[in-house]
Symmetry: none
Subunit: 213 residues, 2 copies
């Protein structure tokens, strides 16, 4: 009898071990699959596709060269994530092209891409701004303008290189037209839609560097 | 005696069940973590950070200019995703810089980045290849070389601009040294690690364009 009991338990043991082994394998493989389906194939491809779309959209530097000197009249560095305080603590979600000469309305701002005017007019932080959406759905934002080149309307098509307005120092005030609260510069923003549908800013610095030819 | 045997097995059983339960829970929770981390808020930041890392890494075009003409002796376009058939149906996961003159060993290939030699030697598809990993973990792959500049060793540090070898037409053969199965060119690959830890190729075309100054 003792022998039979022992054998019975041993068999049960073996079965259990086999079942557990199979279960573990299944879990491991299914989690690997889930991960690769949900996160890698799609997100990776999605975001890389968005980056490629930005690259394809961009055709020219957003400030027009000074004819006399043949250079872009701005200086800038990678200020991504730097602190900004107007309107509450926040980080800088763009790139500031600082005018070499601090004069309102002197330098021309042009569209880096083809696209459609999505937003136009006053923003407390951005001042006189214009937002252009490209055909691939990337949003390009130009802020602190001194003036617009013309009365743009929402939905109007613009082409890469088209003059949007003049560089200025508008913004940081509720009152439309507030000027002079900082040095003359162009704030450039580039926004992609993330997988949850939210607009997210990407760092324009490297793309601008590329356009500076 | 029988009772003692039974008890002993029962106890062993219980222990086993507890261990298995703990193991299963652990597996489930760890896979859930991976998925949740990767699936919404952070994936955007993660991939954008990887793209920024590539931008920061890249310092020079991977082919040395012809001194006489002052131009890069290659032509290339965006062949991302184009079909390739050697070694089974697959898509092209890189960018081919075609030599303007179809001569093996004529043009110098240099590292686009600082980094460490991760892989070196023969690959059936890639021929004589070298893989460099940058400090930020991006993998840069140069394939079809005619020869190496020297006997590189795994783990050896290289700097941006350092000559790696000569452009060639090696590869597409099991036999190390197989040459002449296609026109002389440099295949450039750039790989980032996705959120599941898998190496994924990104399109080098735009980055190469940027380096071509």
């Amino acid at each position: 009898m003792k022998r039979i009991y022992e054998l019975r338990y041993l068999l049960l043991f073996l079965c259990l071990i086999i079942i557990v082994g199979v279960e573990l394998k299944h879990l491991e493989s299914s989690s690997a699959e889930t991960v690769s389906e949900s996160s890698s194939t799609d997100e990776f491809s999605y975001y890389m596709d968005r980056v490629d779309a930005v690259f394809s959209d961009l055709q020219c530097f957003p400030v027009v060269k000074e004819e006399a000197e043949g250079i872009y009249p701005v200086s800038y560095d990678d200020s991504w994530g730097a602190e900004r305080t107007y309107g509450g603590e926040r980080t800088h979600e763009g790139c500031d092209l600082m005018a070499v000469s601090n004069e309102r309305g002197k330098y021309k701002v042009c569209s880096m891409t083809d696209g459609v005017v999505k937003n136009i007019g006053w923003l407390e932080q951005g001042g006189w701004r214009i937002g252009i959406e490209s055909d691939s759905g990337i949003y390009y934002y130009y802020a602190h303008l001194d003036s617009y080149e013309k009365a743009f309307e929402k939905g109007e098509r613009v082409v890469a290189g088209q003059i949007l307005g003049r560089m200025g120092d508008s913004g940081y005030g509720k009152e439309p037209g507030t000027k002079g609260n900082f040095a003359v510069h162009l704030h450039v923003g580039i926004y992609i839609t993330d997988l949850t549908g939210k607009e997210r800013a990407i760092n324009p610095y490297w793309y601008l560097k590329q356009l500076e030819i």
